[in-house]
């Protein structure tokens, strides 16, 4: 499923809602969107509820965005991690890297 990026407003914070596969096919456009969003706002939220699939290319864009946000002093928050996002982050032990609260389902925690 190709990625769809919707921008919505959560109070003063722009929220990018990602839906579909966060993979090599989506990586380039996601990078553009994130770059623009990070340069224009003091804080950005990434909603990940509807992410169905994550590969290395998708993950490394998120990592680069986090680094970029730290550099620019922008608060980048990832929220609503879907199972696919959690799996990928856990596999790479990256949950602390992003530092966002994640909600583990029972089976994943076990």
């Amino acid at each position: 499923m190709t990625m769809d990026i919707q921008q919505e407003q959560n109070g003063a914070t722009p929220r990018l809602r990602l839906a579909g596969d966060l993979d090599i096919y989506a990586a380039a456009s996601l990078r553009e969107r994130l770059l623009t969003a990070l340069r224009q706002n003091p804080q950005v939220e990434l909603a990940l509820e509807e992410v169905t699939e994550v590969d290395g290319a998708g993950l490394q864009v998120l990592m680069a965005a986090k680094t970029e946000a730290l550099r620019l002093g922008v608060a980048l928050h990832l929220s609503g991690h879907s199972r696919a996002v959690l799996n990928a982050m856990q596999l790479c032990r990256l949950t602390p890297y992003f530092g966002d609260p994640v909600l583990l389902t029972k089976e994943m925690a076990g």
Binding site: Y25, A28, D55, G56, A64
Partner: protein, 722 residues
């Protein structure tokens, strides 16, 4: 499923075809070993097949296939290493796994969903594979104990090595990893299947700032502490498909500290930083890191740079089997490349087109020769003859391209016989002979189903139960024989069994019951046997799953006749039956023997011509002539086709043979051999008796091709009635 561009689609098709070939090889090797015991070469072949399929499936992102094949490969690897025996039940499991992969590929190639039944089978096989892997460790009082003794018992950690019993894996994925269709995360997932990732650090060092990064390049690297019973080559195999483009270092458990130092020095990141990462994944303790860095300082003071190889060997870091494995792998790849260069895959449609064109060329060349002859200019005749000869070679070459070894048709049968023998609860072996006989590819495709049916029939109805065989003094194991050979310009394929033979009485009764014959008719054995080809005819007392529904034998005959073939049955009670299928060599071009009847030209397929004689105007018995003290029935073609012949003109006899029947055909002038392109008759004429097709001669005339089989049998049976 990812969307696929046309080029990828073509590659995918090739993958499907090659995988099917590989699965076929795998099956043959397994069946052979079931029969004759395990041998390393075949185990290797099976392993290679699974490994190649896994690798290619990975390139296409067919993760389900990769996942399944990976488990299969694990078991095969154990078998290859000798730590697991290849028992009959494991062969059955491996065969089922092969089938399952084939089904995966079939489903993927048509885009079908994986249904519940399929997933249940998937689960069943995976469970069985895991069990096979798990149950190998405790095997008291068997040969495997001896093998396991070779391994070190309680672990003795040599001095100078690190404490951890885990592997350390350093991965720096190549920049083109994503573009090559691979995902670093899936490699981590495979690793989790063969062991446990105890510690892992994702490296962010080479990740450029968001503004500069190319989202399709890969910047990922990992340091992993990995706990597993797998050996180094198994772990290295996980990264087989990225080993050329990426940096992969694998350090065994309890490596020398020096080995870690080497690793730290080789990797691009700053030494201290990387060292800390190694500590944080748990591969090195803080103490060990300090020691390593101290060692490095000493090395630097020496001012010497020892070559890597020397260090590796000195420190025994590279295990010998690993080197051996790497060498074997290189050798395999080289062999595979050579094999690829020797074979070329061509689309069947292109080949058909070529053969059609060659057919037209043959006609054109015949016309050319004819005109040259009429002109009488010597050099023109000579060059036309030269062209004709070349065309003939091209024709043979083109037809040969379509020929495949009958072994390719037969190769499916060992499995069919094996599985069906189990279903039936009979002990039956299959013998195959006559490999090397070639037949047209399109014919090979069309003969497989009828053959399958005949084999099934023979196993189900032909071979008797073990008790009956014992009572008759026959060997308990039944035998099915598939045989092929060339005969009189055609191909013969036989299905023989050493079973009970056809039951004459039963067939007769059944035929009367069905109203196929009346009780007054007296029939010869062969005619009675031929009754089983009648539609809806089945003598089986019980309808089984395998055969006996009465559909089939008539379809078998139809299918065979559709490719201009014929089938006959020979049977002896309690000794067995033989189903003999006779097929033409090719479907499109034949060598024709041209004869004249009055003013018309007819073509006799040269393959059935035995000899030509002068017609003896004085005969003893009318309708017969004497040929080397044997009576030869004569067939006056002019009479058959109602052509007013000019009596008194010199006539000839062409002796033709079909099967065991021989007839002398009385014709006018003999024109000789010519290449003949078969043009099928239209619907209007295809019922004309005695003519199978037509051809176009060089001068543009249409000439009928005689249907020798119909003419002989019409003639022979007519004689019988008289």
């Amino acid at each position: 499923m990812i969307s696929i561009d046309p080029q990828m689609e073509a590659a995918l098709q090739t993958f499907f075809e090659e995988s099917r070939d590989l699965l076929q090889d795998m099956e043959s090797a397994l069946l052979f070993m079931e029969e004759s015991g395990a041998d390393p070469e075949r185990i290797n072949a099976v392993f290679r097949a699974a490994h190649t399929i896994k690798g290619s499936a990975g390139l296409f992102g067919l993760e389900e296939v990769v996942r399944f094949t990976h488990c299969l490969e694990n078991l095969l690897d154990r078998i290859r290493a000798g730590s697991t025996d290849l028992t009959p039940s494991r062969i059955t499991l491996l065969l089922s796994c092969g089938d399952h992969i084939a089904e995966y590929l079939d489903k993927i190639s048509v885009g079908a969903a994986l249904d519940e039944r399929f997933l249940a089978e998937d689960l069943r096989l995976l469970t069985a594979l895991t069990e096979a892997l798990g149950t190998t460790l405790p095997a008291p009082m068997s040969a495997s104990v001896l093998k396991s003794e070779a391994r070190p018992g309680p672990e003795v950690i040599p001095p100078g090595s690190v404490k951890t019993g885990n592997w350390h894996i350093s991965l720096r994925f190549g920049v083109d990893t994503f573009r090559d269709g691979m995902d670093p995360l899936s490699f981590l997932r495979y690793l989790e299947q063969i062991g446990e990732i105890v510690g892992l650090v994702t490296l962010t060092d080479s990740l450029p700032p968001l503004a500069q990064m190319d989202a399709e390049s890969c910047y990922l690297g990992f340091e992993i502490s990995f706990k597993s019973d797998a050996d180094k080559s198994q772990i290295a195999d996980v990264f087989d498909f990225v080993k050329d483009s990426s940096t992969v270092h694998i350090l065994p458990a309890h490596s020398q500290i020096g080995a870690y130092l080497q690793l730290i020095q080789q990797l691009p990141e700053a030494d201290q930083h990387l060292g800390e990462i190694l500590v944080s994944v748990g591969s090195l303790t803080e103490e060990e890191l300090q020691k390593a860095l101290a060692l490095q300082d000493v090395g630097n003071q020496d001012g010497q740079h020892r070559p890597l190889g020397a260090i590796l060997i000195a420190q025994k870091m590279v295990q010998e089997p690993v080197v051996q494995g790497a060498l074997e792998k290189q050798q395999q790849q080289r062999e595979q490349q050579v094999a690829e260069r020797q074979m070329l895959r061509v689309r069947a449609a292109d080949l058909d087109h070529l053969v059609n064109l060659v057919g037209e060329l043959v006609i054109a060349s015949a016309a050319n020769s004819l005109f040259a002859m009429q002109d009488g200019a010597e050099d023109r005749v000579e060059s036309a003859a030269h062209v004709a000869r070349l065309v003939e070679e091209i024709r043979d070459g083109a037809l040969h391209l379509r020929m495949i070894d009958v072994a390719e048709v037969f190769q499916r049968f060992p499995r069919v016989v094996r599985d069906m023998a189990r279903t039936l609860g009979k002990d039956i072996r299959l013998e195959i002979s006559g490999e090397g006989t070639e037949l047209d590819k399109s014919m090979a495709e069309k003969i497989t189903d009828p053959l399958m049916h005949l084999v099934r029939n023979a196993m189900d109805h032909g071979i008797e139960s073990a008790e009956r065989r014992r009572a008759l003094g026959k060997p308990v194991q039944g035998c099915i024989n598939l045989h092929a050979c060339h005969d009189a310009g055609g191909i013969i394929i036989e299905v023989r069994d050493d079973g009970g033979g056809l039951n004459r009485e039963k067939i007769l009764n059944k035929a009367m019951e069905k109203g196929l014959i009346t009780s007054e008719q007296t029939l010869g054995d062969r005619e009675i046997y031929a009754l089983i080809f009648a539609p809806g005819f089945s003598t089986a007392d019980q309808v089984s799953d395998i055969s006996g529904r009465g559909v089939g034998m008539d379809v078998v005959r139809q299918n065979i006749e559709a490719i201009r073939g014929s089938i006959e049955i020979h049977s002896t009670p309690d000794v067995g039956s033989t189903m003999r299928i006779r097929l033409p060599l090719t479907l499109s071009i034949i060598d024709g023997f041209l004869v004249k009847l009055a003013t018309d030209t007819f073509v006799i397929p040269a393959e059935s011509v035995e000899e030509c004689l002068e017609y003896p105007e004085r005969q003893g018995v009318p309708g017969y002539m004497e040929l080397r003290d044997q009576p030869l029935p004569l067939l006056h073609l002019a009479g058959v086709f109602r052509i007013d012949g000019e009596a008194g003109k010199r006539r000839n006899v062409i002796v033709v043979r079909h099967g065991q029947h021989r007839v002398g055909m009385v014709v006018g002038a003999i024109l000789g051999n010519q290449q003949t392109v078969i043009k099928p008759l239209g619907k209007l004429f295809d019922q004309v008796p005695g003519i199978s097709a037509v051809t176009i001669l060089g001068n543009g005339d249409v000439a009928p091709i005689l249907d020798i089989s119909a003419l002989i049998h019409g003639h022979v049976s007519a004689k019988h009635i008289h």
